[in-house]
């Protein structure tokens, strides 16, 4: 008899409002799917904590703390005074991970925006107009795809690298290389997005609502941005989210190689520069920024995965 009860318990229990309330809007449905994705929720919370860490931490440590050089106290192991130890010229690693985190996260987000603008424009133009323009743009996209990103990043950072002056925003000084890194990451990573947008446009432009818009004489620009683009937003959001993670990784790679953001401005990547030379003496000065990069990228990947399932339930990742 117990089996009947167990079977009954296995039937999903609907709350009253879910059955009898007004039908859920698309947004509510999406949110519900997202909320049930445990890893995505974990990623969101983790990411919020990381933002609090790097932006809230600025209330505790000033930027001067992060850049204060004290060569007498170089490579100190973690202690009460320096919880994460000090680096090769005696800067406090904890304070630097906080300020480095700000730059890394900002680079991730803004490089994604650059990528988004280029990718959407190229993809939309190629997909919407087709023909010669499409062939040309896609050849170009393919060409940009062939060379591994890191090769391009190294060459381009050298190309633009030394010419940027320092910039100051909100009373803080940043190395001009931050802007360079944002631009080159954006310029070298839009190809995948462009292909997605193009595919969406090619399938959507034959649909009835676009035909109707054309028939009423809507200008092309409005059809592209007002009609087709909003309907292809789901895959764009997903790949833009994942692009933030990829951009943070790309920044850490070139900064690790010493070609990215230049000191004294800290990023999680450039804090690790030359770490292999101190592998025996000082584990702390590469371990903490490294863990922060992994946590950030991991949470964003989870978030992107959850968004994919929530926004576009038909496509499932392997």
């Amino acid at each position: 008899m117990a089996t009947i009860r167990e079977t009954a318990a296995a039937v999903p229990q609907f709350k009253v409002d879910e059955l009898e309330g007004p039908p859920l809007t698309l947004r509510q449905l999406t949110w519900r799917r997202f909320r049930r994705h445990k890893m995505a929720m974990f990623g969101t919370v983790m990411l919020a904590l990381l933002f609090v860490y790097s932006f809230g931490g600025a209330l505790v440590f000033s930027e001067a703390d992060a850049n204060a050089v004290e060569t007498a106290a170089r490579l100190q192991p973690p202690s009460r005074e320096h919880p994460f130890g000090t680096d090769t010229i005696g800067r406090d690693v904890l304070a630097r991970t906080i300020y480095g985190g700000q730059i890394s996260l900002i680079i991730g987000l803004t490089a994604m925006l650059v990528e988004l603008v280029i990718g959407v424009l190229v993809g939309a133009a190629a997909g919407f107009y087709g023909g010669k323009l499409d062939a040309m743009l896609m050849r170009f996209t393919e060409a940009a795809f062939v060379i591994p990103q890191i090769f391009l990043l190294i060459v381009m950072s050298k190309f633009f690298g030394s010419s940027m002056p320092n910039i100051s925003v909100l009373g803080r000084n940043f190395s001009g290389s931050v802007v360079v890194v944002i631009l080159i990451i954006g310029v070298t990573s839009w190809m995948y997005l462009a292909r997605i947008v193009r595919a969406e446009f090619i399938s959507l432009k034959e649909r009835e609502f676009v035909l109707a818009a054309r028939a009423t004489g809507t200008p092309a620009r409005q059809i592209i941005f007002g009609h087709i683009l909003p309907n292809s937003i789901a895959p764009i959001i997903v790949s833009a989210t994942l692009a933030v993670a990829a951009a943070i990784l790309a920044e850490s790679y070139i900064s690790f190689l010493g070609m990215g953001v230049q000191p004294p401005t800290a990023t999680w990547g450039n804090m690790l520069e030359g770490a292999m030379n101190y592998i025996e003496e000082a584990w702390w000065f590469w371990f903490f920024p490294g863990v922060l990069i992994v946590l950030t990228v991991l949470s964003i990947n989870f978030l992107g995965d959850g968004l994919r399932d929530a926004l576009d339930p038909r496509s499932r990742a392997v």
Binding site: M39, R139, F140, E142, A143, A144, V146, I147, P148, Q149, I150, F151, I154, V155, M156, K158, F159, S162, A245, L249, S252, Y253, F256, L257, M259, L272, A275, M276, I279, E280, W283, W286, G290, I293, V294, V297, L298, N301, F302, V318
Partner: protein
Amino acid sequence: MGRYVARRLLQAIPLLLIISVILFVLMQNIGDPLATMGGRRPTRSADRERLRRQLGLDKPVLVQYVYWLIGNDWTKVDMDGDGVAETPGVRKGVLRGDFGSSLKKREAATALIGERLPNTLILMGAYELVVILGAVAVGMYSAVRQYSLFDHVMTAVSFILYSMPIFFIALLSMYIFGVNFKRWGLPYFPTVGMFEPAAGKTVPQVAWHMVLPVASLALISLAGYSRFMRSSMLEVLSQDYVRTAKSKGLERRYVLFVHALKNAALPIVTIVGLDLPTLLGGAIVTERIFGWPGMGRLFFDSVSDVDTPVVMAIMMMVSVAVILFQVLTDIAYAWLDPRIRFD
């Protein structure tokens, strides 16, 4: 099939031309090649001008590109600076296999690369072996024991590994297996170089030094590949022919390894072939961390030294390799899976 391959190869020609133009223009501004000529920086401005002329750097970019592409032995160049071209050019151009010579080492770029290429290929060969065998083993085990503890642990681990930058995994493995194993008196792995100078470049030495770089490169890809293998295996296991094989009483092992594995391993071919750009990028970082004298390090050093001919040569070879692998992947896939037809 033949037509398809021919078309793909023909399409690659304009693609490579576009790439070479983009790269050539980029290379123009990465710095002054004369400033870093192996520390022998010519100080007198007359010398600088002469060198500039001899290297052909005084010409417009377009002319430089043409010389780079098809050489300049068909025309005369001005060597003594009187404005009259009198010396016949000697460069043969990329199309005839002459990538110019390194500004720093005064050797042909191809010779420099030829020295380093085997070292990188050893690393990559070992990497592919580890990744493919590892991914098939882990992916199959996960698929057969779906939702077991092992499967769940591997899912979590592969998500974490997938999010890891190579340098972090390399540093961690150096710290654990190089530094701490030494400290604990265990047999430890070397963290730098290809061989002990005292022992010489012998096979066991190189193999021993290769363990950590290959492991760090492989772990990251292993994460993605084994997930791929798992889902492909799951799909195959649910198919009718596998059920038929089981129900006619074949041994389980035989069904798994002969019937299922053959088809499940097919998609691996595609990702192995198409992952080459990622692998090459990873090699730059890995070679730098582990002091491995390969192509990645040569590339990195050449960019730092503004050694344009070498950088261009490496980039073009990488591009050719990537395109070639795309075509090879298609061919291999069509050969392995007769259902696929290209036309």
